[in-house]
């Protein structure tokens, strides 16, 4: 049993060290990016061209193949940040702080993508680009949380206190987000916008569902690849003066 514990401890220790992560990620990146690209292309083409068109909305609903994956990725990145924040605060693993710094812009850009694609999708169905309904408002608040993390990080000079502050904000944000979502839903039932029928996904038929699942998986793979690259870039900025990084830069290119 304790052999297993040692293995976990070794793995945990290694996970925290930059050089190990840098070399592992350089091996992992090519495979992951090919896989992500493949899934993305299959999912999108299958969803946009080959899946049946919706009875009510015709082809407009195909935006779902980009809107829903983006929204779900945006949500789960934020909770990943919260977990990384927790890991940083409890175990002081500097890789977790770096993970937050690297992933926050990616999360923000996908939230923005979800927001704008939701608005574009809403225009033909609701008649206006934007409706202050529960989901869109809480996605906007999520975007603001991401921007707050990015802004907070850059306002600190030294990295350690920046990581500390950002992990606290990520954790607190993660606790608040469900509360905000509930309060916005509750507010939404009060201010039911009479003139606009709130768009509810009807039970989606299976031919449409499979491409959607492929697209969601593709988006998660893409985010994984982008995350790896962003963390490598962040490791580079932090370890620029260290010898192990200079050796890598000099001898491999």
């Amino acid at each position: 049993m304790n052999k297993l514990l040692d293995a976990i401890k070794v793995f945990y220790h290694k996970l925290g060290s930059y050089p190990w992560f840098y070399s592992i990620s350089s091996k992992l990146l090519p495979i992951a990016s090919i896989l992500a690209f493949l899934f993305f292309v299959i999912g999108i083409i299958w969803g946009i061209f080959y899946s049946p068109s919706d009875a009510i909305q015709g082809d407009i609903y195909r935006i779902i193949y980009m809107h829903v994956p983006a929204a779900s990725v945006a949500q789960s990145i934020y909770f990943a940040l919260a977990i990384a924040g927790f890991v940083y605060v409890v175990w002081k693993m500097k890789m977790a702080g770096l993970f937050i710094k690297a992933m926050a812009p990616i999360g923000a850009s996908f939230t923005l993508l979800a927001l704008v694609s939701g608005a574009i999708w809403g225009q033909p169905t609701w008649g206006t680009w934007w409706v202050w309904d529960a989901r869109l408002t809480s996605t906007l608040v999520l975007l603001l949380f991401y921007l707050a993390i990015i802004g907070l990080y850059s306002s600190f000079d030294n990295k350690k206190s920046a990581d500390q502050a950002v992990s606290i904000l990520a954790m607190v944000g993660a606790i608040n987000l469900p509360i905000i979502k509930k309060s916005v839903d509750w507010w939404n039932t009060l201010h039911q916008p009479s003139s606009i029928r709130v768009f509810e996904e009807s039970t989606i038929s299976s031919e449409m569902l499979f491409p959607l699942l492929v697209c969601i998986l593709a988006f998660y793979l893409i985010v994984f690849v982008f995350g790896l690259m962003a963390m490598r870039a962040e490791i580079a900025t932090r370890e620029m003066n260290k010898d192990w990084f200079k050796k890598i830069v000099i001898n491999n290119d």
Partner: protein, 47 residues
């Protein structure tokens, strides 16, 4: 072909262009940052 897209698939093309832009930005930012650092490190070594 363009009219076909404009009159009934405008929103779809708009969203897909937007998705491609977001993916490209997220792809290029780290690469540019990494290369800038590598370049600056290299010209320290050479001077």
């Amino acid at each position: 072909m363009i009219e076909l897209i404009i009159n009934n698939h405008l929103h779809l093309t708009l969203v897909s262009i937007l998705t491609v832009i977001v993916l490209l930005i997220n792809l290029l930012m780290p690469l540019i940052k990494l290369n800038k650092i590598k370049k600056s490190l290299k010209n320290i070594e050479t001077t």
